[in-house]
């Protein structure tokens, strides 16, 4: 009996997961489709770029500064063991551009803007505001989700590139300013080793992470349960799931593209 029950439960869980994945895929496709189809929600999109992108700038500046400083410090001490301090620029720059810039920027935006978005959409769902849009014959996905997706696709690459540039300068400041690596070698080696593929990779990753984080956070908020704990659950799940997906997807893309 217990064995059968257990197998049933596993089966139900798997079916639920497949269903949820299918629903999510549909949601993602619809939100992307409405993003490219008119009527365009330009004002709403601008507002979301301001909220998701511009207002995350200070956080990104802060995090990228410390990340670059830590890379400069640890990179210098490690490379120093091999007498390869001249490669510090390459180490810091490529680590940032290829991995840390897109990933850390995405995690920070998920924590800051993604959570707020899930909470906002969740409370709109809980108080029937989304239903109110529907009965006005306004498509809530097009009105609420698509502008946020576009805003993510625009904001993530911008913030990521800013993250990279500030991180590289912060690594320079610590490695060359404080610790005595050669400043000229720092930038020369970086320039020699960073190709347009690296810049394209950073933009590409940021773009994909933008879609991942925005769609997960919107989906979780949009489908929040109409209970007291529904909104807080949705918010937590949105941040956790989008962070996990960013890291998993980053490894996945890295193993395919490099």
């Amino acid at each position: 009996m217990q064995v059968v029950e257990f197998i049933e439960r596993v089966g139900a869980y798997i079916l639920d997961s497949i269903l949820a994945l299918g629903n999510f895929a549909l949601f993602l496709i619809r939100s992307l489709m409405y993003a490219v189809l008119p009527p365009y929600k330009l004002r709403l999109t601008l507002r979301q770029i301001r909220i998701i992108g511009a207002e995350s700038l200070m956080l990104i500046v802060l995090i990228s500064t410390f990340t670059g400083m830590v890379l400069g410090l640890q990179g210098y001490h490690t490379l120093h063991l091999f007498g390869a301090e001249d490669s510090l620029g390459t180490l810091v720059g490529l680590a940032l551009v290829r991995e840390l810039g897109p990933v850390l920027a995405a995690l920070m935006i998920a924590a800051r803007a993604g959570s707020a978005m899930a909470a906002e959409l969740g409370s709109m769902q809980a108080s029937e505001q989304i239903d109110a849009l529907t009965v006005m014959a306004i498509n809530p996905v097009q009105y609420l989700v698509s502008p946020r997706m576009i805003a993510g696709v625009v904001s993530f690459p911008i913030l990521t590139v800013i993250f990279n540039v500030i991180g590289i300068w912060a690594g320079y400041a610590v490695g060359c300013g404080l610790l005595g690596a050669s400043g000229g070698a720092y930038f020369n080696n970086l320039a020699a080793n960073m190709s347009r593929h690296d810049v394209a990779l950073t933009l590409y990753k940021a773009l994909v992470f933008g879609v991942v984080v925005m769609s997960v956070c919107c989906y979780k908020g949009y489908h929040a349960k109409r209970m007291a704990t529904g909104v807080s659950r949705a918010t937590t799940e949105a941040v956790v799931l989008s962070s996990v997906l960013v890291l998993a997807w980053d490894y996945f893309m890295g193993s395919i593209l490099l």
């Binding site: 709403l44 301001r50 091999f82 007498g83 720059g93 911008i158 590139v161 590289i168 320039a191 960073m194």
Partner: protein
């Protein structure tokens, strides 16, 4: 609820900042050129380029004068294409060697100017080359020499084996 002038201004500023950062990353930090580069391309054949990659530095006396474009196989040798900055003159007796930056650092091509009477131009080949120093090979050679001659005159031979100066 509508995008105010402030929002438009902030978003505009944000976008410009992003474009500026991208420009710095690409052209200042990455030195990636979008225009056709005004340099010229020369070739050099090596027995072994072990780890030299496109984008690696080409220098004369430690000064960067160009970069490696790529390598292909030709007559069982590696033919390396290098883009040399405009205005840099390399004569036909120059020697190109592949060197390492530190023990684990990347490889680069160093060019030693000779006393040749002609200047290389686009598509020309540097005749004299010196291949990459491959640590594993050197160690293998060293052990061989010890085995054969009791380790008496190994110091010079390990050097010679790496120097395959060739004239075609």
């Amino acid at each position: 609820m509508y995008a105010s002038r402030t929002t438009q201004f902030i978003v505009g500023l944000f976008a410009l900042l992003g474009i500026a950062a991208l420009a710095i990353l690409s052209f200042r930090l990455g030195k990636i050129s979008i225009l056709p580069t005004p340099g010229y391309v020369i070739y050099a054949n090596f027995d072994n380029i072990s780890g030299l990659k496109p984008g690696d530095e080409v220098d004369i006396a430690g000064v960067r004068i160009g970069k490696v474009l790529g390598a292909s196989l030709s007559d069982n040798q590696a033919r390396v294409a290098m883009e040399i900055d405009k205005g840099v003159q390399i004569d036909n007796d120059a020697i190109a060697s592949i060197l390492s930056m530190g023990i684990i650092g990347g490889k680069y091509v160093s060019i030693q100017l000779g006393g040749g009477d002609k200047t290389l131009s686009n598509g020309d080949i540097i005749r004299q080359t010196q291949s990459a120093f491959v640590l594993e090979n050197a160690i293998g050679q060293f052990i061989n020499n010890i085995g054969q001659s009791g380790g008496s005159k190994d110091s010079s031979s390990s050097q010679d084996s790496q120097q395959s100066q060739q004239k075609k």
